[in-house]
Symmetry: C2
Subunit: 240 residues, 2 copies
């Protein structure tokens, strides 16, 4: 069965967390909106009457008869199907919990450049963005990174967030590090020194054969000024 991923074609965004999972397990999938007529197909499925379970927003995944929306929900599904999460209840819930914490972080990252409204241009909320980004960098980035660092510390020699085996939350944390490096290079450079386990996890994920091949492929969209992670130098910390 070929999965159909539906997401905005020009950004990594939330779709990237699903792509990374599909790529890691070598799933057969098509990134529908990047193909011919794909945007129309996607918008059709977003009509509330199109489906018994209409999605509120992309990304969503068609898997046979299932149409699944919400990033963490798609990953919950893929994690169970492709052994990207523990089978036991405690482990499954833990990986979902980590993913939801990453989802919270993503909203905060997005709102550094769009604190007032997603429907306004960045240029129409620049002073607010500066204030929000300043607090994000000072308070929230260290809090989130510190949390994941301590989770990894607790794992000891087990290499991943849920123990010895890779889970989709590890793939997502890799993407968070990638994104923060792009968006806030100065702030991130200072923080990486204190979060060596998070950085080491990022590197272990990047070195996995399927992920390494994906990152070099044209399927990986480059970071840009339209996604969740955007690089506006005025929002980053000053260089050390």
């Amino acid at each position: 069965m070929r999965y159909e991923l539906y997401y905005w074609p020009q950004i990594q965004g939330r779709g990237e967390f699903v792509r990374l999972a599909l790529e890691e397990v070598g799933a057969d999938y098509v990134d529908v909106a990047r193909g011919k007529g794909g945007m129309e197909k996607m918008q059709k499925l977003m009509q509330p009457r199109s489906s018994e379970h209409p999605p509120f927003a992309p990304p969503f995944l068609r898997a046979g008869k299932l149409l699944i929306g919400q990033t963490a929900n798609i990953l919950l599904f893929l994690g169970a199907r492709h052994a990207l999460a523990p089978k036991n209840e405690a482990g499954r819930l833990w990986v979902n919990q980590l993913q939801l914490t990453i989802a919270d972080l993503l909203v905060e990252v997005h709102d550094t450049h769009h604190p007032i409204a997603a429907s306004f241009y960045y240029e129409d909320q620049k002073p607010e963005a500066r204030r929000r980004a300043e607090t994000f960098i000072k308070e929230r980035m260290p809090k989130y990174l510190g949390y994941f660092e301590k989770v990894l510390e607790h794992r000891g020699k087990a290499a991943f967030l849920a123990g010895r085996a890779l889970s989709y939350a590890d793939l997502s944390l890799f993407q968070v590090v990638e994104g923060l490096r792009y968006a806030f290079p100065n702030a991130m450079s200072a923080l990486e020194k204190k979060h060596s386990r998070v950085v080491a996890l990022h590197d272990r994920v990047a070195a996995r054969p399927n992920i390494a091949a994906y990152l070099k492929s044209p399927r990986r969209i480059a970071f840009n000024q339209h996604g969740i992670f955007r690089h506006y130098p005025e929002l980053d910390a000053k260089a050390a």
Copy 2:
């Protein structure tokens, strides 16, 4: 087994979505932080070294050996245990998807009064809050309510979001309506006319015996200016 719910003792907040599920099924639970020494217990469990699966933030639930964080994750667990979600995979994923959409809405509601930083007082971000609330009321509230209205319309005679049986997403949508009525009475009053199915669902939930008893009990904390839903008249729409 007695559940232990850990959440800030003076607000409904995200904890309320868990309380409503526990109350509906008549679960044996204790709201730990509202009891003597409860805040210390909660803060101890939030230490990263306290647990194999430390929560990033309240609410979290102890269920025997499990310690479960993130509201939607707690509800996923309770939904399966107490028949507050369909048993089949499609239904289970659908209810989780709805809950995650409600979680997204809650962040947006919170940020109407805290668009710059959760750590600043409202008084220190009032002009920004006004701008954000205006767009929230004009664009986002109708979008979310319209989505749930259409989902219910699609259900036809089935009374609930996932079909004939109540799910935890229905309880959560009830709470969203309660909260929006408190925070934005003028905006909500105008919108309710166009969203009669959502209002009817709210009323059906409110009339359930266990929920009705809970709402009248001292266990239900009143809305106030410290939670997610806050009433600042200057952020509401003008009265019609």
